[in-house]
Amino acid sequence: MIECPSCGRRQEPSLICVDCGSPLAAPLDCFAALGLSRKLTIDLDELERRYHELSRMIHPDRFASKGPKVRDASVRATATLTRSYRTLRDPVARGLYWLELNGEKLGENNKRVPPEVAELVFEVQEQIAEMQLSTDPEAAHELATQIAARRIQLQFTMDESLAELERHFAKWDQPADKKMLILELKTILSNIAYLRTLIRDVDRALDNSKAA
């Protein structure tokens, strides 16, 4: 139970006081903050609509002339809302958050490169190293062209993995073995994490070679 700083009413945690409509700084999970049930499949338009509607009600701009307690509650409530929206809007952040809610982490046992992307990762990293060490500008240029082509391939693989993630989310709406699902979710998220790092490295290497 929490207490409204404005009217004093004690109530269940939420972002808005049931009595007076003042913002409340309550500890809430991302789904609860946006008034959603805990489901991995999310309609993004509906999510944005709720986010905008709640922002209109609790944003600090609405309470600029109120006392410090209400202003402070508004800043905290909006911070919670914003963080929740950003987490749920991005499928990868949502998946990672889902693991967290289930007491799991991608963390430590993720050191091994997933076999699905291992070959790609090693090949590209080798090419990047070769390009960076190359003293012959023409050879370096040739490698940069090859890596740029790889970049396109990587993006396709990334898009595939993201689509797979969305398909996986739907599985949680059906009755299934939770342990299996968690394992599958971890595998997909770990592939994506590797691809993200790789794409970032490629972009950086290509930027550097352009600058040189």
């Binding site: 905008h52 922002s55 209109r56 944003h59 600090p60 701009d61 609405r62 600029a64 002339s65 800043v75 905290r76 909006t78 911070a79 919670t80 914003t82 963080r83 929206y85 950003r86």
Partner: protein, 622 residues
């Protein structure tokens, strides 16, 4: 409750605006009814402050006198008093961040501290104090213009979107020092989008290209049903029209010996000439630039093409920032439905061409680019007063925030372009047994290593009850408020007890220092406005008396006995009045003296021209 006003505290000019009958309007604060108050502050050796147009006149520069000679005038800095221009460039900077060329321009006090301090006479001034003078001048000017005894107490101040925490804090401090309640800091490009009334657009993406005197910002916004959501922002707080002027000055003074180039009088005269020429070339294709030096003049011809060649690398830098911002917003230039131009530097035809090329559309520029930010600030002020219906601004933090971890690595806790307010909680524990404190170093920036990021603050968590390593659990909440400013809170997870966190900012002023400055300001400001006006009137008197003495010495033969007697009589009364405190009397006598000396001044002018013509004809003959 009193109205909230919108202030654009700009690098070159500052403005104040408010809603009048549902539309934002700038308030005429300038002496000639202008809304633009030049952000120039002159401080005399005795501490008297002048802001705006009259401060520009006191800038050290070379002037061609009535007799044709060139002489140096103005406050040359340090003990001679100083004129501070573009103070916004120094907001939130530490002493070690001052560039060598700035050191040639101004006299600074000890540069080892966390705040830049200008040395003027026997006193030192921080950039926040100088900015507070600009804010005060806006406030006084607007209150005069509004009449009706309306007081300006609550304001929204705009800042470049790319301002870091320290620069924002310094701006808020300036407001406090000017006795204003800063209800909100708003990002300039975001404010500009409000001024254009783009909320009438059903849904779409907008790019705001804000190229001012000293800063560049690009913001990408998504607008939907009155909600302005900033998707990404990028920029450079040290890139603006000033840099184009500097490039021009370097070119103008290229042939001069080094010592002369650094002379504050010469440099400023060249800068004024360069700025004028740059503005002229917006409308015409070529122009002449003349800088008069003692015994020598620099005369160069400048075409718009040549100017554009000099400006091109700077404009290329702005476009690179645009690309980054559009990519961060997960958009392409083709997704942008409207482009808004803000800032005086967007008047340059080259800027308009490049922006149009990049976004494949003609940018919007129907609102004066010098006023659009202040007008938007007034709209945001009315949002804060609750009189703008459903309109709401969701802005972002421009730079990532993190902490230094093992090995000097920056661990990002809040990523750049995250909507604010936002918060993140991080758990901390001890590394060795019976450790009673944990040191936390907060950073802002995008680089991997702590040393390459900007240090925001350091604080000590504790005292922690002595326990085995790893047992204590302290949760630290980093909260960025709607102004983009960081607040830190710590809580012991087991006891639930709040720890007080004594955050020591790496740059900027501590609360104690602000308090002290406020007290000083109150001490000094007791007679406040009245005293300032008196000092200013006395300075005027001194100036005219000095000038007259000099002219009588050189051209005494041009005065009739009757005129001389009347002059002497007024001079005597003014000399007496100027030691007193009746400023209206002083002002009246200055005016009177001006009147009785006018015929004399005209005769001097005639004589000077005649002399110059005679000389010329002699030269032509020989």
């Amino acid at each position: 409750m009193s109205r909230i006003f919108g202030i654009d505290l700009g690098t070159t000019n500052s403005l104040i605006a408010a809603m009048e009958g549902g539309a934002p309007c700038v308030i005429a604060v300038g002496e000639k009814g202008s809304a633009l108050l030049p952000s120039v502050v002159a401080i005399a050796p005795d501490g008297a402050v002048t802001v705006g147009e009259r401060a520009i006149e006191m800038e050290p520069h070379l002037t061609v006198e009535r007799d044709g000679r060139v002489s140096a005038v103005g406050f040359a800095g340090g003990e001679y008093g100083a004129v501070i221009r573009s103070v916004k460039r120094y907001m939130g900077l530490g002493g070690d961040e001052i560039a060598p060329e700035d050191r040639a321009r101004y006299t600074f006090a000890d540069l080892s501290g966390p705040v830049v301090r200008f040395q003027i006479g026997k006193r030192v001034f921080t950039p926040s104090q100088i900015s507070a003078e600009i804010l005060r001048a806006l406030k006084d000017g607007a209150e005069r213009a509004l009449g009706k005894d309306e007081k300006i107490e609550r304001v929204v101040i705009t800042v470049p979107a790319y301002f870091n925490d320290g620069q924002r804090q310094a701006t808020k401090d300036a407001g406090r020092l000017a006795s204003l309640e800063v209800v909100r800091l708003v990002n300039e490009p975001t404010a500009a989008s409000l001024a254009y009334g783009l909320n009438k657009m059903a849904a779409g993406n907008v790019a705001v290209f804000d190229f001012g005197g000293g800063t560049f910002d690009i913001s990408i916004l998504s607008i939907k049903e009155g909600i302005f959501e900033v998707l990404a922002t990028n920029g450079d707080t040290h890139l603006g029209g000033d840099d184009i002027d500097r490039a021009l000055v370097d070119w103008l003074l290229a042939e001069l010996p080094g010592t002369l180039k650094l002379d504050r009088h010469v440099w400023n005269s060249a800068r004024m000439a360069a700025e004028d020429a740059k503005k002229r070339l917006t409308d015409i294709a070529e122009t002449d630039i003349v800088v008069e030096l003692p015994g020598h003049s620099i005369r160069k011809h400048l075409t718009r093409d040549a100017l554009e060649q000099m400006a091109a690398p700077l404009i290329a830098r702005t476009l690179k920032r645009c690309e980054l911002a559009v990519a961060d917003a997960k958009l392409t230039p083709a997704n942008i439905d409207a482009v808004v131009l803000v800032g005086g530097s967007t008047r340059m035809p080259l800027v308009r061409r490049r922006v149009a090329e990049m976004f494949h559309r003609e940018p919007l520029c129907s609102i004066d680019p010098d006023q659009v930010v202040a007008l938007g600030a007034a709209v945001q002020a009315s949002v804060l007063m609750g009189t703008q219906g459903d309109m709401l601004l969701l802005d972002v933090v421009p730079l990532s925030l993190g902490i230094e971890t093992m090995g000097g690595v920056m661990e990002r806790l809040i990523h750049r372009n995250t909507t604010i307010p936002t918060s993140v909680a991080e758990g901390f524990t001890t590394a060795v047994d019976n450790q009673t404190h944990v040191d936390i170093h907060v950073l802002q920036g995008e680089r991997e290593l702590a040393k390459d990021c900007r240090s925001l603050a350091r604080f000590k968590l504790g005292p922690i009850q002595a326990q085995s390593a790893g047992v204590p659990r302290i949760e630290v909440a980093f909260l960025i408020d709607a102004n983009g400013i960081l607040n830190v809170n710590a809580r012991d997870e087991r006891t639930g007890r709040e720890h007080s966190v004594d955050v020591k900012p790496s740059y900027g002023l501590t609360d104690d220092e602000i308090e002290r400055m406020l007290e000083e300001a109150i001490d000094l400001g007791e007679q406040d406005l009245e005293e300032r006006l008196l000092i200013s009137a006395r300075n005027d008197a001194e100036q005219i008396l000095g000038a007259l003495r000099k002219q009588l010495g050189e051209y005494g033969r041009l005065v009739t006995a009757g005129e001389r007697a009347r002059m002497d009589e007024v001079v005597e009364r003014l000399e007496a009045a100027r030691t007193g405190t009746d400023r209206e009397l002083i002002a009246k006598l200055v005016e009177e003296l001006n009147e009785v000396t006018t015929p004399f001044a005209e005769r001097i002018m005639d004589a000077a021209i005649k002399l110059a013509l005679e000389k010329k004809s002699v030269e032509e003959l020989s």
